[in-house]
């Protein structure tokens, strides 16, 4: 009986601490993000929980890429996890306009903050994202674009 009460008390104590800590963090995030744009919110949660920022590119990619083509994504590092993460997010955000395929060529991009896309069907096509600028190969009729 005494042992039961001690264990019960300890379990409540541990739960109270973790619940209050979680409540504080959630409220803190909510206050910080209230009134921010969607992409700013995505950047914040990605940066906080996953440690990288990629969302600012998506809107731009969505309007820039020729439609109805399949693309392979080239990752910022040769790390398979990062590759997968980019691919998953791009496929989610770009559906149904574009599909990012797995198993295409890997190239190393110089920084984590950059995204390269490569067209599986047209090797001449390339997109390079570097900081806030994207360069599209001139064959596809675009030049240097700046993100909003």
């Amino acid at each position: 009986m005494k042992a039961y009460k001690i264990i019960l008390f300890l379990s409540i104590l541990v739960s109270l601490i973790s619940a209050l800590q979680y409540t504080y963090e959630q409220m803190d995030d909510s206050i910080k993000l209230y009134n921010k744009s969607y992409l700013e919110k995505q950047d914040y949660v990605e940066g906080k929980y996953n440690g990288y920022l990629v969302y600012r590119y998506y809107d731009w990619i969505k309007i820039s890429l020729p439609k109805a083509k399949t693309y392979g994504i080239l990752t910022a590092t040769d790390d398979n996890k990062t590759y997968g993460r980019y691919m998953h997010r791009l496929n989610y955000f770009l559906y149904p306009e574009h599909i990012i395929e797995t198993g295409t060529i890997f190239l190393l991009a110089p920084k984590l903050s950059s995204v390269k896309l490569y067209s599986a069907g047209r090797s001449s096509y390339g997109v390079l994202g570097e900081k806030k600028y994207f360069l599209i190969s001139k064959k596809d009729g675009a030049g240097l674009l700046r993100l909003k």
Binding site: Y4, S15, Y22, T23, Y38, K41, N50, M87, Y92, I100
Partner: protein, 455 residues
């Protein structure tokens, strides 16, 4: 306007739940209102997803009205009931409980704060987790855009990472909410998970007070739903906790069936465990584990009475059939579209097991590590659960609760077998999540044992 559309979609889900839980085989009319209300949500998600699945098979394109119409029509039949309720409703009858500073008052306040924080956060921040993008929200988005389940898209090889063979309860519900919203909004969609969390809290508390007293029931809610690992998975877009909540509802009704021997509880248990198997394939393991436990219970209870044993076999068959009715259609249809698991490749299970048996010690070691030593994810959850069960072992032996423990061990054993069979080495990234499926049932067992020790 968008908030009204959101509210509309949730009303339809609740109506769908009320519809199925008002039918004779699954009737919950004897349950307290709060328990009924929470069950409507979970049952409603099952009904909506199954209905949308059938619509897709019939090549009927999803639309807000197409999906909602049967439940809107059903709501007309509720008008007399609502009228009676409103005519009996008097504000003066509502009593404000006197708040005294006590341990239970503090726990209630923290639980309220938790729900509030989750709802506010879910209505402000978008999804960010890997599986939410890769699997659940991607599929929901595809269903929303295509207005059906497009097997030709799901079967494309580059979507293999999103596990297209997984059941579609959650993606279909997310797609339904989006269709009602008229737009894709992955911020508001997180409220689906927040509502599930809040409804389960209501259900878990309401169920536990049948087995123990209020303070322990509230403590159990805080212990389970205030655990940092559970909280992380409550709203991050993974469906492991949704699976766990369905499994726990099934477990609790299974306990009530064993205690009261009423078939209705077995039907409810089967319905919700079948739903768990329609949330995620892991739920099939839980369904099998509960079926084995039920068989064991029926055999050991009625083995000296052949007539009763024969009759109980009918109960067993109904249990299996009801569950199958919910999760098997998807399994059959996905198999017919050649959507197979990318995790288990071998056709010969026995050969694969024999070849991989050398992995068993490593898997067992990881199980123990995750349960008792990995305080980063689960903190001290499983240590406390074990201690509660050890302290309550007297009641465990004397009551039917021992079958819940058997169910938990059977589930772990099945998971163990699946890890031996799987091709991918995903133990470290998945086992801590599989435990989320069992945690609510384990917490129910641990805290329901408390009553005897307390009195």
């Amino acid at each position: 306007m968008i908030v009204l559309r959101l509210i509309f979609s949730f009303i339809i889900i609740f109506l769908a739940g009320k519809f199925i839980l008002s039918t004779k085989p699954f009737s919950v009319k004897n349950e307290p209102p709060s328990l009924r209300f929470s069950l409507y949500f979970f049952a409603g998600t099952t009904v909506i997803s199954l209905y949308m699945f059938v619509l897709s098979l019939l090549h009927i394109s999803y639309g807000a009205l197409v999906v909602s119409l049967p439940f809107i029509l059903y709501s007309i039949t509720l008008i007399p009931e609502i009228r009676t309720y409103l005519s009996n409703f008097r504000i003066s009858r509502l009593t404000v409980p006197r708040v005294r500073l006590s341990l239970s008052a503090v726990i209630y306040a923290v639980l309220f704060l938790l729900v509030l924080a989750i709802i506010i956060n879910c209505s402000i921040t978008p999804i960010f987790s890997k599986d939410a993008f890769a699997m659940w929200f991607l599929k929901a988005r595809i269903f929303f855009v295509e207005r059906s389940i497009p097997f030709d898209i799901l079967t494309k090889p580059f979507y293999v990472y999103s596990s297209p063979e997984y059941p579609q309860l959650v993606p279909l519900n997310l797609a339904f909410i989006s269709i009602c919203l008229g737009q894709w909004n992955d911020i508001l969609l997180r409220l689906f998970f927040a509502t599930g969390y809040a409804m389960f809290m209501l259900f878990f508390y309401g169920s536990l007070i049948r087995f123990t007293h209020k303070t322990i029931a509230a403590a159990a809610c805080l212990f389970l739903l205030g655990n940092v690992h559970i909280l992380e998975y409550a709203t991050n877009g993974y469906v492991d906790l949704t699976l766990g909540m369905f499994a726990a509802i099934a477990t609790i009704y299974f306990q009530r069936f064993m205690d009261e021997k009423r078939s209705i509880y077995l039907m409810l248990s089967s319905f919700f465990m079948g739903s768990a198997a329609f949330v995620k394939n892991d739920g099939i393991a839980l369904f099998v584990a509960l079926s084995v436990t039920l068989f064991l219970f029926l055999y050991l209870t009625y083995r000296k009475n052949l007539d009763m044993l024969k009759r109980s076999l009918i109960d067993f068959a109904i249990f299996i059939f009801t569950g199958f009715l919910i999760f098997m259609p998807w399994q059959v249809v996905s198999a017919s579209h050649s959507i197979s698991s990318h995790m288990i490749k071998s056709a010969n299970v026995l050969t694969t097991m024999a070849a991989n048996i050398g992995r068993a010690p490593g898997i067992a070691q990881h199980f123990l590590f995750e349960l008792y030593l990995n305080t980063y994810s689960w903190q001290y959850f499983w240590i406390f659960i074990t201690l509660f069960i050890l302290i309550g072992r007297g009641k465990l032996r004397a009551s039917n609760s021992k079958y819940i423990l058997i169910f938990l061990f059977a589930s772990l054993s099945l998971y163990f077998m699946v890890y031996i069979l799987t091709v991918a080495d995903n133990l470290a990234s998945s086992f801590h999540r599989l435990l989320i499926g069992l945690a609510p049932s384990a917490a129910f067992l641990a805290f329901s044992l408390g009553h005897m020790e307390e009195t």
